[in-house]
Symmetry: C2
Subunit: 304 residues, 2 copies
């Protein structure tokens, strides 16, 4: 099954305690599509400026990503500049230049409307809703959002969430959206807004997934070298959706596996700047790290 | 197999967003012994003042804890006063009255010296070493410590650690002890100081355990009502050591199970103030929550 994703394609400038990168490939749509492309066919709906390097378009194409929905608009590509301290869980934004993203209206090319798996990346919830109006009965709709929209466009976000099956959201943002400090209660409140699967991203502490009758926890992979956490959340969502779409199975056990594949993909992304690690990644490495996640978390049943 | 524990027995006054408790039973030795007593025989070495309520001594006895090493000294019992905000991971100490604890020197009663499992609670590392000098070839020595000793008694602590098999320590303190922000590297450095098992406690995010060839991660149990996190770490250590001593098996798989039993015990402690939840806890509830931890964390192997 194929996946439609709407999100940002950006040029990022990032500084971490371990180095810096200037104007490298970034954006939620980019990380998501690249991660998902290891598992399933991906259609990317986004916008870049006329200055967007051909090399990056070439890379996305090389991953088999369908770029018919990637608009090239007059002007400059969206740019983000940020830095991380030793607490790699928190990005500090230094500068955001929306540029061509400011006037972006997602337009689905012919043939995109019946894509069964839809991911609404972290953009204005009004635009997320516009995408939903252009697709025909998708099998699964997943969504990301952030504090900026929870605060500033709450009504629009709540409207979008009514049509969302799976919300993948940061821990602090889950609390903010629900108005509740306790995560278990916060997840229940969010489920009452629409999503029947709430995936809470906790950075280096991993992920909690709430479904109607169960909770699933998976740790982040303990890494000796975390170079740049940018894009980890979007890569996670890409691996998750990619694996779901590839198997087209929405049972609890299949969603759990997909959450682990998402965690696997995120664990690779942070090992290098930008998408460098994903560029050289093989499917064998993904399978191998999935097995390592099993070894990391398994313990036996209690004796009677 | 039986366990010897040296630690504090205290009267705690605690305020959380959900309520307050005045002069209730607390202390690292208390939480540890109570948790461990569900699994194994426990000998408690500690000190209380003449004001220590008989009711509390009665409770510890009712748990089958051997109190021959519990000194009653002239003066008042150790007291701690603290509060927690909505971030229940962090205790804010308002007042510490050492009282009889100030002059405490651990004295092992006759028959204690050959206890096979030894837990050195979070006290002055010089006193921890005094305990080690009084025991004969224990099978396993575990230890806790804190920022106060890492800063103020580093040399004594490093000396103690040489004789320790298992260090159970908070995340921030692990980084401080190792002088290293990355936890994987920090754990390796701590292992070079002596312990061959490093258990890193991360509060509501669970536990990471490092052994020579493996890493094990277990989440904290997602709870709807966390009432009071006081004693969670000591209860965790008590469940861990209790289960290890009961099975007398130090293989990786057995230690992993013990870490989960520790997490089970901690998840109960935080549900009420002081030791209230442990007082009414049954072994069936422990077994049941262990099973829930399995359901919380399990996911299948990847398809080929």
């Amino acid at each position: 099954m194929s996946i439609l994703v709407v999100g940002s394609v950006a040029l990022d400038s990032v500084e971490t305690p371990f180095g810096r990168a200037e104007e490298v490939l970034g954006g939620s749509g980019t990380y998501f599509s690249t991660a998902a492309s290891f598992f399933a066919d991906v259609k990317l709906v986004a916008v870049v400026g006329e200055d967007f390097p051909e090399e990056h378009t070439g890379f996305l194409k090389s991953r088999g990503i369908d770029l018919a929905g990637l608009q090239v608009a007059p002007g400059r590509t969206f740019r983000w500049r940020g830095h991380y301290g030793f607490d790699l869980n928190e990005a500090h934004t230094l500068e955001t230049q929306l540029n061509v993203f400011e006037a972006f209206r997602p337009q689905l090319p012919p043939g995109y409307a019946d894509t069964p798996y839809v991911f609404l990346g972290n953009i204005d919830p009004e635009l997320q809703l516009e995408v939903l109006l252009q697709v025909i009965r998708p099998r699964l709709v997943a969504c990301d959002t952030m504090n900026f929209w929870i605060d500033g466009k709450r009504e629009a976000l709540l409207k979008t969430l009514r049509y969302v099956d799976l919300l993948a959201i940061n821990e602090g943002e889950a609390r903010q959206l629900a108005g509740e400090a306790n995560l278990v209660k916060a997840a229940r409140r969010i489920m009452a807004m629409g999503p029947r699967i709430v995936v809470i991203k906790r950075g280096e502490y991993g992920v909690l997934m709430f479904t109607e009758h169960a909770v699933f926890a998976v740790p982040a992979f303990p890494l000796e070298d975390v170079f740049d956490p940018t894009g980890a959340g979007d890569t996670f969502a890409g691996g998750l959706m990619g694996h779901l779409a590839a198997n087209d199975n929405l049972e609890e056990s299949a969603v759990r596996q997909a959450v682990v594949f998402g965690s696997v993909m995120a664990s690779f992304t942070v090992e290098q700047f930008s998408l460098e690690r994903l560029k050289e990644l093989s499917y064998e490495e993904i399978q191998d790290r999935y097995l390592k996640f099993r070894l990391l978390t398994e313990f036996g049943p209690a004796a009677d």
